[in-house]
Amino acid sequence: MPTEAAPPRSDEHRITVLGAGTMGAGITSLALGHGVPVTLVDVDQAALDRARARIDHQKRVAQLMGAVPEGAAPGELSTTTSLDSTADATVVVEAVTEQYDLKSVLLTEVGARTKPGTVLITNTSSIPVDDLAGYLARPGELVGTHFMNPPYLIRTVEVVQGPRTSQHVLDVLDDLLRTLRRESVVVSDAPGFVTSRLLHPMINDAARVVQEGTASAEDVDVLMVGCLGHRTGPLRTADMIGLDNLVDSLWVLHERTGDERCRPCDLLLKKVEAGDHGRKSGRGFFTYERTEQLS
């Protein structure tokens, strides 16, 4: 039986991030800014090329906002279309599209390559961690870590401990998050955990309010910010999440909870169908300049 590797020292982390989309790029920028080397993997070479430009931009945004440690040498970035680098990683972060089949197939492949003791993180926003852990030969190695967008600026992450997640994995993750200067709150496994379970139906309701003509997207956000003290309005938050991801996540929540508030409203579905996916595409409920699309 293979023995479990000793936990990596804080300065020995090597992260492989799977998926060069919005979250994959953002998590990569966070790690690089804190001196941790990252291998970014995607099946699409063009997506990797786009991610490189985006990560360069995000590293500058992080510096501008004072969100990287002063004087720290940045981690080195490599990109590849192969999963081989997962064998040498201390931590593998899965950040692919929010689709159960895609994530389960990928985790099966990755779990067959990693060394025992490697921490596998899923950045799912809604799928229960234990459902995905079932695809691994060592299910205790999977933990949910729900970074918010943009991960290199938001200091708090939601950690999801599945019923089989091992203490070793939680300890290594805790050390990594300390290296990345993130605060974490550990919650139990459930569809949407805490943040998505509360936020996504609320955003769906906000979109429904616009759909029904009660108020414009601008006015909904102004009210939630001005009257209720939200830092960002729900519809601008939706644009930041990505409306396509939001709809995927709402379907997962709807299917697993039966809550009708989680059935994506027509306005959200229409926007996704039209390609208005939010900030990353330049338009969602609001419009965005090129600089904002990269951030």
Partner: protein
């Protein structure tokens, strides 16, 4: 076509250009000393747009310790930064 080399050089002209840019983007009027993010209410994410605008318009490169929010708080601090970077560039080369 306007190139960086042909753009206005004086501090006052840079400030006027920046105010025009801000007013075009935000549809409200601005003074040179208003803190864009604190009293002005702009999102700090907008600061990166200002960085890119300054680099493209004035042909400067904003790197290292200059890349901090305080340098972009007011039109006056931004114009000062551009003037300094342009002077450094001319001296260097």
């Amino acid at each position: 076509m306007t190139t960086p080399a042909q753009t206005p050089q004086s501090r006052g002209e840079i400030e006027a250009g920046l105010i025009a840019f801000l007013e075009g983007r935000t549809r409200v009027s601005w003074d040179e000393d208003v803190d864009l993010f604190a009293t002005g209410g702009l999102s700090s994410m907008f600061a990166m747009e200002l960085v890119v605008h300054l680099e493209q318009t004035y042909g400067v490169s904003i790197r290292g310790g200059d890349l901090k929010l305080d340098n972009f708080r007011t039109v006056r601090t931004m114009a000062g930064l551009v003037r300094r970077l342009k002077t450094d560039k001319d001296t260097d080369g």
